[in-house]
């Protein structure tokens, strides 16, 4: 019997048109019409063990592939469980579409069973949202959602789908929709670009700051050409790590609270800054008034609201990064600036990164060893805390998308589900999670998803039996009064993993972790490596709250 066409079929049709191959989700009564119709489509629905994980997985998928990630939930608690994941995507401008089921339109506003105003709840953390009350608007709303999520400055879009809209039979069997007409991108005056080029050419101590926007704008090649032609050193923000592959000679590391001493110092000393695809977040700039005090600042961004929001910008330029940098390239001149490069070389010799583990101690060396056994293009997904800083300071980025982490939101528990999304999107690349014990507990249920679908991810849990970063802050800034930071060592994580059907092994970072690392590299399926670390193994340098980027401290009692 041929089924009649219903709203859910239109959703499937648009998802297919948009090239969606995987959805991360969790069903409920109100989403069932869509779950049912997805079953007959080539789209694979991954059943996660929590909706928060579904949103993070969609986010991880998007970060690894550059395509839109899709997650889906039922109404009420399903939708609210997505919220942390949506906010995480919003803060790092990742393109995801979140499909939330909703109660029947006739029940809206009645506090019906599992009704929640997800449009209202998510309003400050989405790029846009749609509640589709009429089946005639379904196709065009979805088309627009995908368009909005990935154009301009990308971001999450919520599409709320009442059950009756999904289940209602449809007069328009093809799901026809009006062409989406979205306003043209705002582009600045080319004369402004010439001004930027002139200022750059004139400068003696220039630095380029690369933010997450470079990757999002697919402009890594253009940026590489620019810094190489003009011979300008560059730094990145934490989200910009990997914008240009490490080790091309101009890379000074990343700036900010946990950034590189060299990067922070050179930005401070610079006389000209070209900022590309960054909003100058407080994590990068610390005390704005003392940030790059001598520099003329030029900023290129596709999002007008990111320009001059935090810092005064002398030469703003609104435009697509790839196009803008392409246009800028012929205008910049190669210039020797021997003194500046000499100074950088000299500083390089004295900064804290100038030691084998670049300020990250044994944990850093262990992360390097892990990268050593992984293929070159392996993706690291770091969680939040000390483990994150060790990873982002250590992992060499050979390609723009091989380091994923929650920067703007700093969401603990992000790494495990995000890695699922990354591996689903990039099945041929190695994916390794690096998490603390605290963050690991936050989405530990996803071991079940990993095991069920046999997703071959390598999971490294750096276990210091504490919320390590909290402990460090209490040690440094609260007179070593430790509270609410001990997790204890009473949990046998390897037994837990085995219980989920995942092999693993415990090693100590002080003894030789290499054997465990090798065993992990040989494992075909998912694998958990627990690395026991002393809770006093902290991360340095760090900028204390309220201090500027050049007031880093390197140990306790400074």
């Amino acid at each position: 019997m041929k089924k009649e066409t219903i709203g859910a079929d239109i959703v499937v049709k648009i998802l297919l048109e948009e090239g969606v191959e995987a959805i991360f989700g969790y069903p409920g009564a109100n989403s069932l019409p869509l779950n049912d119709r997805l079953m007959d489509s080539p789209i694979k629905h991954y059943l996660m063990r929590h909706e928060q994980a579904a949103a993070h997985a969609a986010d991880g998928f998007a970060r690894a592939t550059g395509k839109v990630g899709v997650c889906m939930s039922t109404s009420g608690p399903g939708a609210t469980n997505l919220v942390t994941g949506i906010a995480t995507a919003f803060m790092d401008s990742t393109p995801i579409v979140a499909l939330t089921a909703q109660v029947n339109t006739s029940l809206l506003g009645q506090d019906a069973f599992q009704e929640t105003d997800i449009i209202g709840i998510t309003m400050p953390i989405v790029k846009h949202s749609f509640q589709v009350k009429k089946i005639e608007n379904l196709a065009s709303s979805l088309k627009q959602a995908f368009h909005i999520a990935q154009t301009g400055r990308p971001g999450p879009v919520v599409v709320d789908l009442p059950r009756d809209v999904l289940a209602r039979s449809c007069e328009c069997p093809n799901g026809d929709y009006d062409a989406v007409d979205m306003p043209d991108k705002e582009v600045d005056d080319p004369e402004q670009l010439e001004k930027i080029a002139r200022a750059l050419n004139k400068s003696e101590r220039p630095v380029v700051i690369l933010g997450g926007g470079v990757k999002l704008g697919h402009a890594t090649g253009e940026i590489k050409a620019l810094v190489e032609k003009a011979k300008i050193p560059f730094v990145t923000t934490m989200m910009g790590i990997g914008s240009v592959s490490a080790g091309n000679g101009y890379d000074l590391g990343f700036i900010g609270t946990h950034g590189y001493e060299l990067a922070n110092r050179m930005v401070h000393d610079s006389d000209f800054i070209l900022a590309v695809g960054t909003r100058f977040s407080d994590r990068s700039t610390s005390v704005v008034a003392e940030f790059a005090p001598m520099a003329t600042i030029a900023q290129i961004d596709i999002d007008p609201t990111s320009i001059g929001k935090i810092i005064h910008v002398d030469l703003p330029y609104i435009g697509d990064i790839k196009e803008t940098v392409t246009a800028l390239l012929p205008l910049v001149e190669p210039k020797e600036r021997a003194q500046w490069h000499e100074k950088i070389k000299k500083e390089k010799g004295i900064v804290c990164e100038n030691n084998p583990d670049n300020g990250c101690g044994r944990a850093g060396r262990m992360i390097s060893a892990i990268q050593g056994i992984m293929p070159d293009d392996a993706i690291a997904v770091a969680d939040v805390g000390l483990n994150q800083i060790w990873t982002v300071r250590t992992w060499r980025t050979h390609s723009p998308r091989n380091l994923i982490t929650s920067g703007g939101m700093g969401t603990m528990g992000f790494s495990l589900p995000a890695a699922i999304g990354a591996k689903v999107g990039m099945p041929d690349r190695g994916v390794v999670v690096i998490s603390g014990d605290g963050g690991f507990y936050m989405n530990i249920q996803e071991l079940a998803t990993i095991s069920y679908y046999n997703i071959p991810i390598k999971i490294v849990v750096i276990n210091n039996a504490h919320l390590g970063m909290i402990r460090q802050m209490q040690d440094l800034f609260f007179q070593s009064r430790f509270t609410t930071c001990e997790l204890g060592s009473g949990v046998d994580l390897i037994a837990v993993a085995r219980g989920f059907g995942i092999e693993g092994r415990r090693v100590a970072v002080d003894e030789d972790p290499q054997e465990g690392i090798l065993e992990m590299s040989r494992a075909c399926g998912p694998y958990l490596l627990e690395v026991v670390v002393d809770p006093e193994h902290y991360v340095y340098p760090i900028i204390p709250p309220g201090r500027s980027n050049v007031e880093m401290i390197f140990g306790k009692g400074e």
């Binding site: 449009i119 209202g120 309003m123 400050p124 790029k127 846009h128 949202s129 509640q131 909005i148 306003p183 999002d303 007008p304 609201t305 320009i307 001059g308 929001k309």
Partner: protein, 162 residues
């Protein structure tokens, strides 16, 4: 830089139910007050026009304007404080009327080209409108004449040249 200014913007939007909430969200995010707001459907029923007045320093006002402009359903934002435009406000005032003040009220209302709309048991309601800069002075005058309560529309405005 920190000088507080008043700004009236005219915002043309797609006539969608949550567009006002999204605009309000931009203000609440930055802990900014909307001094007044008025919204109406335009000649094209698919579009609405929102006239909004706010106060703040130059930088914040600019950020807010940019952020509103960035919302998906916004078609156009124009700063009416920067282009020639008529900015008016209407007030309905309820006055306690007695033989003592009746004549003064009638005189003032006439002078301001206002109207008396209702006369019920010692209370009148009058309608007056005025330029945005006059409106406080007008209120002060009626206050002396036994003003009991009032409602203001907030600024409504229109560009002088399209």
């Amino acid at each position: 830089m920190t000088k507080i200014k008043e700004k009236t913007v005219s915002i043309l939007v797609n006539n969608k139910p949550d567009v006002l909430a999204r605009i309000a969200g931009v203000f609440s995010l930055r802990s900014f007050n909307i001094e007044s707001i008025s919204a109406n459907v335009t000649k094209d029923p698919g579009k609405s026009k929102i006239i909004l007045t706010t106060k703040g320093n130059q930088d914040t006002l600019m950020t807010i304007e940019k952020q509103i402009n960035n919302l998906v359903d916004i078609i156009q934002v124009s700063d009416l404080t920067k282009i020639p435009s008529i900015r008016r406000e209407m007030i309905l005032i309820r006055l306690k009327v007695s033989t003592a003040n009746q004549n003064s009220i009638i005189q003032v209302v006439e002078k301001l080209h206002g109207r008396v709309l209702s006369k019920e048991e010692g209370y009148w309601i009058v309608e007056v409108s005025g330029d945005v800069d006059e409106i406080d002075a007008i209120l002060a005058r009626f206050d002396k004449l036994g003003m009991d309560d009032f409602t203001r529309t907030g600024t409504v405005a229109l560009e002088q040249i399209a």
